[in-house]
């Protein structure tokens, strides 16, 4: 009789987590070793990594395929601007306030659009984003259709020096990426996460085991919306300027994010992270070609969806199901033969 045990970690995942920790330390020190342009690029990478992880959480795990997440990116930007400009909040406080407002608004939205199924749900989310866009375009105190800039006083409230501000915004982006990936990881390891995985694999079977499907999906939607709003706030703190078309852009905040997740590998934690790195590598080399690069991205995403639906990470992990994040449980103490 051999001893059997169940564990989530594998040698590969332990190694990967150690490497991740080391990488985080190096990235934390980036303001001391990277130039201004690189720092800005790194910040953007972390923001897209967060958006991709969140969209993957929604679509890849909860099966809620949204093409309207720009609603919450834009809402985050506008709430952040309103909180700093009208309510006089410190930018560091305005970010979590915006996130809370985003989560609060997403609850009734979810109650409404959860009435639509599957692909119609996707277009419903887009309608909501359009409603947000048209509404903010009517708010004249936030610049109406042409938008507004963040006042100098607010920006100075972060830090007096330009270097200090840029470092702080960078750390916020890094912090949000860690928070988002960490939150999704923790959620997936929790009881609710197991319920979510069960729903993803077989909704009917999950229901018969007593899982409240509506409530689980609702929680995921609201958590995702709140965190997306947080990312949105930071995106527009970095940009210093907001307008309805930029804030609620379906190309910038949803199309690119979906392509990142599909190319990286949907339904895994590693996929969106890998996808973000691939996307930025492509973008930095192809950006000079303008619209061609969006076309190329679309073609690559379609090809991946048709020929390798599990994405790049799916190709890398192969049949053995290698995981860098210790998520799924494995039985230890079995040999290949005579299980």
């Amino acid at each position: 009789m051999r001893d059997l045990s169940v564990s989530r970690s594998t040698p590969a995942s332990t190694l990967a987590m150690a490497a991740l920790g080391a990488a985080l330390l190096v990235m934390f020190a980036a303001p001391w070793w990277a130039g201004r342009a690189e720092l800005r690029l790194f910040g953007e990478i972390f923001l897209y990594m967060s958006l991709a992880t969140l969209w993957n959480f929604l679509a890849g795990y909860a099966g809620l395929v949204s093409v309207g997440q720009q609603a919450y990116v834009g809402l985050g930007g506008y709430m952040f601007f309103a909180a700093t400009m009208f309510w006089g909040l410190n930018p560091l406080l305005a970010l979590p306030v915006a996130a809370l407002i985003g989560a609060a608004i997403s609850a009734p939205v979810a109650a409404l659009i959860f009435r639509l199924r599957g692909a119609y749900f996707a277009i419903g989310t887009w309608v909501v984003a359009e409603v947000f866009l048209l509404t903010f375009a009517q708010v004249t105190s936030l610049g109406g259709g042409s938008g507004t800039s963040l006042p100098v006083g607010v920006v100075k409230g972060l830090s007096e020096s330009r270097d200090g501000r840029e470092a702080l915004i960078y750390w916020l982006a890094l912090g949000i990426a860690v928070l988002v990936v960490g939150a999704v990881f923790a959620f997936l390891r929790s009881r609710r996460g197991v319920a979510l995985t069960a729903i993803r694999d077989n909704e009917l079977a999950a229901k018969s085991l007593g899982i409240d499907i509506w409530w689980t999906k609702f929680t995921v939607y609201v958590v995702t919306a709140g965190l997306t709003t947080l990312v949105g706030g930071l995106i527009f703190l970095q940009k210093l300027r907001i307008s309805p078309d930029a804030a609620f852009s379906v190309n910038d905040w949803t199309a690119v994010v979906i392509f990142i997740v599909v190319i990286g590998g949907i339904g895994t934690l590693e996929g969106p992270i890998l996808g973000t790195l691939v996307y930025f590598a492509l973008r930095e080399t192809l950006a000079d070609y303008g619209t061609i690069y969006l076309i190329a991205l679309g073609v690559v995403a379609i090809a991946v969806m048709l020929f390798a639906p599990k994405g790049l990470w799916g190709l890398i992990r192969g049949h053995r199901g290698t995981e860098l994040f210790p998520l799924s449980r494995r039985v230890r103490g079995l040999t290949e033969k005579g299980q």
């Binding site: 409404l112 119609y120 277009i123 309608v127 509404t135 009517q138 679309g298 379609i302 639906p309």
Partner: protein, 287 residues
């Protein structure tokens, strides 16, 4: 009187929205596919009409003779070569592939035609009108509405009275049994998409004659069509026409209150109907 006029103009506008929606409704009915690129295909049709009408010196309405078969052939090829590979129980692949297609079409149009707004010039018919007592109706809007009614009646007849319609309904009910009965599923799906894009071509040309369009105009067309489908109820073609009319009226009334509210009013009516009648006003099937 102004308000009655706004309601009538809105109802006529609804005919155009029903044309946006009919293609969407058709392919959803036959193969449960929601085509996110639908709006961009409408705009693509308008550009194809622009090129043919300018290139050959044709009136855009005559250019339909070319645009409709071109788009139908494109639809058949698209379905057979790409979309059929994504059909299955998982709804993610078709959704993401059509979403990718939407971005590709939009950016390809941007490269080919630039972001400048374009318009189809149909000549004097654009401004012609008839007076019915105190109400003046544009000839074009009335024509578009009549075409919408004819298209929906035609689709309805095709679905319930022809062999092709029987094949569509059979495939819609049970794909595998239909296949056993000798129907080639891939071909039936191709025909459904061809028919959908033929209607889309009509919608695109009428759109281009009515307003100016640019490569980014597709998204809101998809949304209007989708709203008409949901308001009317899934799987009910006449309901889709009703949904388009309701949406059109909501928009013109919104615009009457404040020009900035036109589109918003349509979306709000859609969300309201979703809140009180989640399956639409005249549902025939479940999503």
């Amino acid at each position: 009187m102004d308000w009655i006029n706004a309601i009538i103009q809105g109802a006529l506008l609804g005919g155009l929205y029903a044309l946006f929606a009919a293609g969407l409704s058709l392919i959803f009915g036959v193969m449960r596919l929601v085509n996110i690129a639908h709006g961009d295909l409408i705009v693509l049709s308008a550009y194809v009409a622009l090129t043919t009408s300018v290139g050959l010196g044709l009136n855009p309405l005559l250019a339909l003779v070319i645009v409709v078969p071109v788009m139908a052939a494109f639809g058949y090829a698209l379905q057979r070569l790409i979309l059929n590979r994504t059909m299955g129980d998982d709804l993610l692949p078709p959704l993401l592939v059509t979403f990718g297609l939407s971005v590709i079409i939009q950016n390809a149009l941007l490269m080919g035609y630039s972001a400048d707004p374009q318009k189809l010039q149909a000549g004097p018919i654009e401004t012609a009108s008839v007076s019915l007592g105190p109400i003046t109706l544009g000839v074009m809007p009335v024509l578009v509405f009549a075409v919408a009614v004819a298209v929906i009646a035609g689709l309805q007849w095709m679905f319930y009275r022809t062999a092709l319609g029987r094949a569509f309904r059979a495939t819609s009910d049970r794909q595998d049994i239909a296949q056993l009965m000798g129907l080639n599923r891939a071909h039936v799906f191709g025909l459904a998409m061809a028919l959908s894009l033929a209607v889309t071509a009509l919608a695109g040309v009428f759109l281009g004659i009515r307003t100016s369009f640019d490569p980014a105009a597709g998204a809101s067309r998809l949304i209007f069509g989708f709203e008409a489908v949901i308001i009317g109820g899934l799987g009910n073609l006449w309901g889709t026409l009703g949904g388009g009319v309701i949406l059109g009226i909501a928009q013109t009334l919104g615009a009457k209150i404040n020009p900035g509210y036109q589109i918003l009013a349509g979306h709000l009516v859609f969300l309201l109907i979703l809140a009180i009648r989640p399956r639409g006003l005249f549902p025939r099937m479940d999503g």
